[in-house]
């Protein structure tokens, strides 16, 4: 190993200086901004600073089915326009559907019409029977693939938009695999609200209320062919009780939320309640103008994710491209609704399959307890070493201080994330750090018992224990590295601190302690060693 004592001391001093420069901004805010901004910092994991971790499953099949059903509705409208009577309608799976027509050339005429109208559908003639023929329409594979990719990519984009508007410092939103999205929101306090904001599909639709048919009949199962039953939720402001009332609406949406330009919260028109006002883009405004003109005196339901928010009567044609959603909103609900409408709807519904929310108080509590355990653990180990090995033990303790310093600054340098198990890893690394010195000191004791001179005993001790120390470190490192590969967030934090601690220990336990003994021996060979 290195012979020059000054060389080794210079190296240790240089490393210490660099470590302090790197580490200090992570520990305190009272440093000049120029220093703080230039240094990487230790990140706190969600379990220490509080926040929300969500793993979402994107329900792509539902998105494909929804799109296919939208095509089916449009296809039937086309058939109606061309006076082609549809006898029956059926889902055909894999983004397809079939329509049955009476005997004659209806089916082939429908096939031609649909082919022309919908270039993204494969339209084919099914079996021809005496009582009629079917037309089978299916989305083209490229179209399905596009929905698939879009569902996740667009989903990430939309969620990021919503979160940015909600205001979260350093959110992380990433796609995972083919159908998952992972959302990490550190430091979020209103966690339930954040989860709802992320998970809402937010598909806004304007649908006509069917006042010609009876809701009671529909609830019994006799829903007219083009209609569906949706519920309007309302909350009684006095009792706070929520009620649901059924309403029969047309399946076909006249206008959807993708034409919204902006959405704002307004207060105050009715009894101080909040409402959301929308303005459409040019295309949306045109459609809205036409729809309202054609349906004056009829009721238009405003539907968000299959729940009716309000169903006002259209009093007159609305040309300005503005609309309002009223309902019994709290200001927070109204503001969140405005956010999701501005950010747009998710292309496919998502389901929360993992939710880990840590409140800020628990995070602080964990830091406090973890740091306390680490300090007490370190003190106990330090005292034990000083008691058992006397002066040599104190030399080992001296090296332990460097070990901890280098470990923390190493974490800062790599911007590593500190988690609660990560703190446990530091504590464990402290316990293991002195092991190297125990192995060396026991070996030195043996050599002294074998009547070697102090200096020779020290050299032999370091020499002979070297490979034992390396072996014992490598086995721990192997498991730590594997834990890092397979572990999730908090456990990765454990693997990071443990493996870095053990690796740095090889340097501090071997070099930092040896240089002390060498320094003492250099001036005058030691006659006795307190060990």
């Amino acid at each position: 190993m290195w012979k020059s004592i000054t060389g080794r001391i210079t190296l240790i001093a240089a490393l210490t200086a660099v470590s302090i420069i790197v580490l200090v901004p992570s520990l305190t805010d009272r440093v000049p901004a120029g220093w703080k901004d230039r240094m990487p910092k230790i990140n706190l994991g969600l379990d220490l600073q509080g926040g929300v971790f969500l793993r979402l499953a994107v329900e792509i099949d539902k998105a494909i089915e929804n799109t296919s059903m939208r095509y089916a509705d449009d296809a039937r409208a086309v058939c109606r326009e061309k006076a082609l009577p549809v006898l029956a309608f059926q889902k055909a799976g894999d983004g397809g559907f079939s329509l049955r027509f009476p005997p004659g050339d209806f089916a082939s005429r429908a096939q031609a019409a649909l082919k022309e109208e919908f270039p993204s559908l494969d339209v084919s003639l099914g079996e021809v029977k005496a009582d009629g023929a079917t037309v089978i329409a299916r989305m083209k594979p490229a179209e399905i693939q596009a929905i698939r990719t879009n569902a996740v990519v667009q989903g990430v984009e939309t969620i990021r938009n919503r979160i940015d508007q909600f205001g979260v410092r350093e959110p992380q939103i990433i796609a995972e695999g083919e159908d998952r999205i992972v959302v990490q929101l550190p430091g979020v306090k209103d966690q339930q609200r954040a989860i709802e904001l992320v998970g809402k599909t937010a598909l806004l639709e304007f649908k006509l209320v069917d006042e010609g048919a009876s809701v009671e009949e529909a609830l019994k199962g006799n829903v007219p062919e083009d209609d569906q039953v949706l519920y309007q939720k309302s909350v009684d402001p006095q009792s706070g009780r929520a009620t649901k009332s059924p309403m029969l609406v047309k399946k076909r949406a006249l206008l959807t939320g993708d034409t919204i330009k902006t959405a704002k919260v307004n207060f105050g028109n009715q009894a101080g309640g909040a409402h959301v006002s929308l303005s459409f883009d040019t295309r949306g405004a045109k459609v809205f103008d036409r729809v309202t003109a054609e349906n004056v005196k009829r009721r238009l339901a405003i539907v968000l994710d299959d729940t009716i928010y309000s169903a006002p009567v259209i009093q007159e044609r609305i040309s300005g491209g503005e609309a309002q959603i009223t309902g019994s909103f709290t200001p927070e609900e109204a503001s969140d609704l405005a956010i999701v409408l501005r950010a747009g709807s998710l292309p496919a519904p998502v389901k929360v399959i993992q939710n880990v929310s840590i409140g800020p108080s628990l995070g602080l509590d964990s830091i406090e307890k973890g740091v306390r355990a680490a300090v007490i653990g370190a003190l106990l180990v330090v005292c034990f070493m000083a008691f058992y090995y006397r002066f040599s033990g104190m030399v080992a303790d001296f090296a332990l201080v460097f070990n901890i310093l280098f470990l923390l600054s190493g974490m800062a340098a790599f911007s590593a994330t500190l988690t609660l198990p990560g703190i446990a890893g530091i504590i464990l690394a402290i316990g293991m750090a002195v092991d190297s010195n125990v192995l060396i000191f026991e070996r030195i004791r043996e050599e002294i018992r074998a009547k070697k001179s102090v200096r020779a005993a020290i050299d032999a001790g370091y020499d002979k224990a070297f490979w034992t120390v390396v072996d014992s470190h490598v086995t721990t490192l192997i498991t730590a590295v594997i834990l890092f590969q397979f572990g999730t967030g908090p456990i990765k934090g454990f693997a990071v601190t443990l493996s870095m601690g053990v690796a740095i220990n090889l340097f501090t336990a071997l070099v930092c302690t040896k240089v002390v003994f060498d320094y003492l021996n250099a001036r005058k060979p030691m006659q006795a060693l307190s060990i």
Binding site: V356, A373, V381
Partner: protein, 305 residues
Amino acid sequence: MIELVKNTKIDFMGLKKYAFSLSAALVILGIVGTVQIYRGKANLGIDLAGGTSIQLKFQKPFSMNEIRSLLAKAGHGEATLQEVSGENILLVKLRALGNQDEKMVADPMVNLLRQTLPGNPFVVESVSEIGPAIGHKLRQDAELAMLISALAIIIYLAWRFEFKFGVAAAIATFHDIFSVVGIFWVLGLEMDLLFITALLTIGGYSLTDTVVVFDRIRENIRLRKLKTFSETINLSVNEVLSRTIITSMTVFIAVIALLVFGGIVLRNFATALAMGIVVGTYSSIFVASPVVALWRGEKMTEVKR
């Protein structure tokens, strides 16, 4: 010079009958525990089994019975409740039933408690909801991690010593892991991802002691030239006994600090580590070397360096 153990001449190989019986009992316990884990009959954490866990901190002391009956009325009779004494903390755990369409229940449960216990407000300290699919994946990852680390360690030790030493060390390591699983299972302690992490860490750390003993055996075969392998083992274990115990002790001290002061989240983790350190020290003395002796015989061939 303070010496905890001094010039011992214990006949460790002579004790191997007793040691093997004890170890066999521990390992069988561990195997039964492992089988029960796979049959879903063990106290698995919700991060492995899927389900919901909620940690609430109340302002005032609460009645466990009242909350239990409240939850039972809401259809969550199978929830397990745990109280952290003195801190007014309640842990509610609800294991997933395994069907894919399971709804998340944390939010309605919290609302229910908030409404029915208006006199004792609480803070939701943490919520963790894990779908069965994720639990399954995390479990698979954990299994793979354990398998790979076992292989990696055998390869490393086979390279540094020889194959038989590597396998013996691996046997000692599995002995430690199974023992801790067995003890946890018998005590009904919760096994979660942190527990698996502890097991892997134990696996890595218990080897430290084994390596120390093996190193000395190798050295003594070369230098001392005793008649039998068993004698060499006895001499070597006695020679390194103090460092085996002291290295374990320093780590044990640190883990005890973690256990006592680290808070509820790390309690089971620290418990598993503490057990693992004790069992690991025992196995490096009583299991690893005797296994090598059994396999290698009493031949005094040198171990490659």
